[in-house]
């Protein structure tokens, strides 16, 4: 058996980066404050010292420049792993993401590709200033050519990150910062991958399927546990949001006939909509209740005094599950 380390999620990010930097000389890590400072969340701590200025470096404060130069490096055969300091600051680089990273392969019929992994801490719950609590994964899942992953455990983090970095296509890798340091898990020291596109059933159940990802996985599991006895809920952590594991979703739903989707992002146009739409498309005849969405509201993410009202929490999720099974 290989040795393991007891790591938090953010330490697993760091460990994943380290393993990939060791494995492949073409991998480079860069962004604002990722060098000597080791990242504002310490996700790149020590990597600058260990791999040197050429492999792990700071950039000017310019997100379009960060993503745009990554596209150029990728065209030359490198494997860029840029960081955007918070997902709310990806927008100045949005054009480079959707117009170039996502399309270079199509545009050049496979001649040029962008095997970039664009990391960003995402989601709310840490009493942060404005724009620091966004979850707008739906922007990226609506853009063909991109993949999107969101881990929910330290083990998955390292494995999904490795898979993303080795993936020949651009992956937007959103890290749920609320749980960066929330708990620890045994993580192999060896490099390994967790395949992109594979959901994980975190709790088996027969009454209702609850689909979620990232930081919402924990309150969702908590809600499921609180309801145990009353309701037997299956909890599926989607892990990769594009491409989505539709088989896992539809299979679970065919079994239970009821579903709840939990996400932090605003309800309208969030991924809950796509999941509900697909379920009724593929399995209407199994459907015994509306697919329920327990989500953030259709408002800007409020400043932190009110963020606890905004984000789904176990009690709210429980209510959603209960309503769905009693429909």
């Amino acid at each position: 058996m290989s040795t393991t380390q007891n790591l938090t999620l953010v330490q697993a990010v760091r460990d994943g980066l380290k393993c990939e930097l060791e494995r492949d000389d073409d991998v480079v890590v860069f962004g604002e404050d990722v060098g000597e400072n080791g990242g504002v969340f310490r996700a790149t701590q020590g990597l600058h010292e260990e791999f040197g200025e050429e492999r792990v470096f700071d950039t000017p404060l310019a997100e379009s420049g960060i993503v745009g130069t990554a596209v150029g490096m990728a065209a030359y055969g490198m494997v860029p792993v840029p960081e955007i300091q918070f997902s709310g600051f990806m927008y100045p680089g949005f054009d480079q993401i959707v117009s170039h990273a996502a399309r270079m392969r199509t545009r050049s019929r496979g001649r040029f590709t962008v095997p970039m992994t664009l990391r960003a801490p995402y989601g709310g719950g840490i009493r942060a200033p404005e724009h620091h609590s966004e979850s707008k994964e739906a922007f990226y899942t609506h853009e063909a050519g991109l993949k999107v992953a969101v881990p929910s455990t330290p083990h998955d983090t390292k494995g999904l990150l490795a898979a993303a970095i080795r993936d020949p296509d651009p992956v937007v890798f959103l890290e749920p910062k609320l749980i960066y340091r929330a708990f620890r898990e045994e993580v192999p020291e060896e490099p390994y991958t967790v395949e992109l596109g594979d959901a994980a059933v975190r709790r088996e159940g027969t009454d209702v399927s609850v689909f979620t990802w990232g930081a919402m996985t924990r309150p969702t599991l908590e809600a499921a546990e609180n309801l145990a006895g009353e309701v037997d809920a299956e909890v599926v952590d989607l892990r990769t949001l594009s491409p989505m594991d539709w088989d896992a979703i539809v299979d679970s739903f065919r079994k239970t006939g009821r579903a709840v989707v939990v996400h932090e992002a605003p309800k309208t146009g969030g991924l809950g909509a796509e999941i509900a739409a697909t379920i009724q498309e593929e399995a209407l005849l199994y459907q015994e209740a509306p697919v329920k969405r327990v989500t953030g509201f259709d408002t800007p993410f409020p400043l932190y005094a009110l963020e606890d009202y905004y984000m789904p929490e176990a009690a709210r999720i429980e209510d959603g599950i209960r309503e769905t099974v009693t429909f």
Binding site: T299, Y304, L306
Partner: protein, 367 residues
């Protein structure tokens, strides 16, 4: 001759590190009262800042961006404006906003996570802008609107050294040049953008020289010399109002300074910079510099300084008291002000939240 007509590499200074007037410099034409005001504003800002950091440490406030070291640039520039002028701040301009009329309790309220601290009713201040450099095009747009209305105001836009690397810096200044807007682009070059030093932001010698790319003047000033900052800003504002023939209204001011503390309370500067560097810059502290100048001028003495210190402490204590005694914003306020009129779907989301809270005996979702 205007101080703006200098070689951009030559840094404007009025006071040296000991607070003595440097050779050839003219002390700006400010009354003793105004000078004492300037001093008091800086003292107040410094004390406020220290208290704010400790509120954060005590868990009474969220992340906060301190300004100690940067009082000279903020107070000096903001005092150079007329009542009708506008400022367009980033997230660190607490002192400039105070000078322009925003009480510090509002600033605290904002950093305590309450949007009401940012409502700025009746003041010519734009709200705090968090995405770096994104406020710069707003300032150009304000200038365009001022021009359109034939008003006489000037908009002063604050941003950091790191901000000069963003596309919005470029687009904002370029619009300023093309539309010849009454705008002062005021760069608080405090040497660092979190952990990235100024030298790694750009390969130029100065930031002021970037004005060359927009066809208007750029000038470097000692940002820890409040008199020099006042003077340069006043001339830039004057030029914006009444530009000489063949000259454009905007100016890029690079105020060279240093933040003594962390980038925000979430940052640990010891990881990326030496204590020795900090000590070196503390020699340029704007507060003792102006104090020495005013003592020398006979406007301040021990007694007056002690009085000011006391009044500043009292004001900040009141401010904190005020900020902490305001009632929490209501859960409903999440849904207010998203649109002028609340769409039906939002209304039903608000009702859902109200129902939820009732069902759970108001317990749900309270910390």
């Amino acid at each position: 001759m205007s101080v703006l007509e200098r070689d951009p590499d030559e840094r404007v200074q009025v006071l040296d590190e000991e607070g003595r007037v440097v050779d050839g410099a003219t002390v700006p034409d400010l009354s003793d009262e105004q000078l004492v005001d300037m001093y008091r504003n800086m003292k107040l800002a410094r004390h406020f800042d220290q208290r704010a950091v400790s509120l954060q440490r005590q868990g009474r406030m969220g992340t906060y961006p301190p300004l100690s070291g940067q009082e000279g640039a903020q107070v000096g520039s903001a005092m150079a404006l007329a009542e009708r002028d506008w400022i367009v701040p980033s997230y660190r301009e607490h002192a400039a906003m105070y000078v322009r009329g925003l009480d510090f309790d509002q600033t605290l309220r904002y950093w305590m996570g309450d949007e009401r601290g940012n409502s700025l009713d009746g003041l010519n201040i734009m709200p705090v802008a968090v995405p770096i450099a994104s406020q710069i095009p707003h300032a150009a747009g304000l200038g365009m609107a001022i021009d359109y209305r034939d008003d006489d105001a000037v908009a002063v836009c604050y941003f950091g050294d790191g901000a000069t690397s963003e596309g919005d810096f470029h687009e904002g200044l370029n619009f300023g040049g093309v539309f010849d807007t009454p705008t002062v682009f005021f760069c608080n070059n405090n040497g660092w953008a979190i952990s990235v030093p100024r030298e790694e932001q750009t390969a130029t010698e100065t930031l002021a020289q970037k004005a060359t790319a927009y066809g208007f003047e750029g000038i470097q000033v000692d940002g820890m010399d409040p008199l020099a900052v006042y003077q340069v800003t006043r001339e830039a504002v004057k030029k914006a109002r009444e530009p000489p023939v063949e000259e454009l209204r905007p100016t890029l001011i690079e105020a060279v300074q240093y933040r003594f503390g962390a980038h925000t309370t979430a940052d640990d500067p010891s990881v990326y910079r030496d204590e020795e560097e900090v000590e070196r810059w503390k020699q340029k502290d704007p507060i003792p510099r102006l104090e020495a100048f005013l003592r020398d001028r006979g406007v301040l003495d021990d007694e007056r300084v002690a009085e000011i210190t006391d009044s500043v402490e009292a004001e900040v204590a009141d401010t904190i008291e005020a900020a902490e005694s305001i009632e929490r914003p209501s859960a409903e306020s999440i849904f207010e002000h998203v649109y002028a009129e609340m769409p039906r779907r939002l209304e039903s989301q608000m009702q859902y939240l109200q129902r939820l809270r009732e069902q759970h005996d108001g317990e749900l979702l309270e910390e």
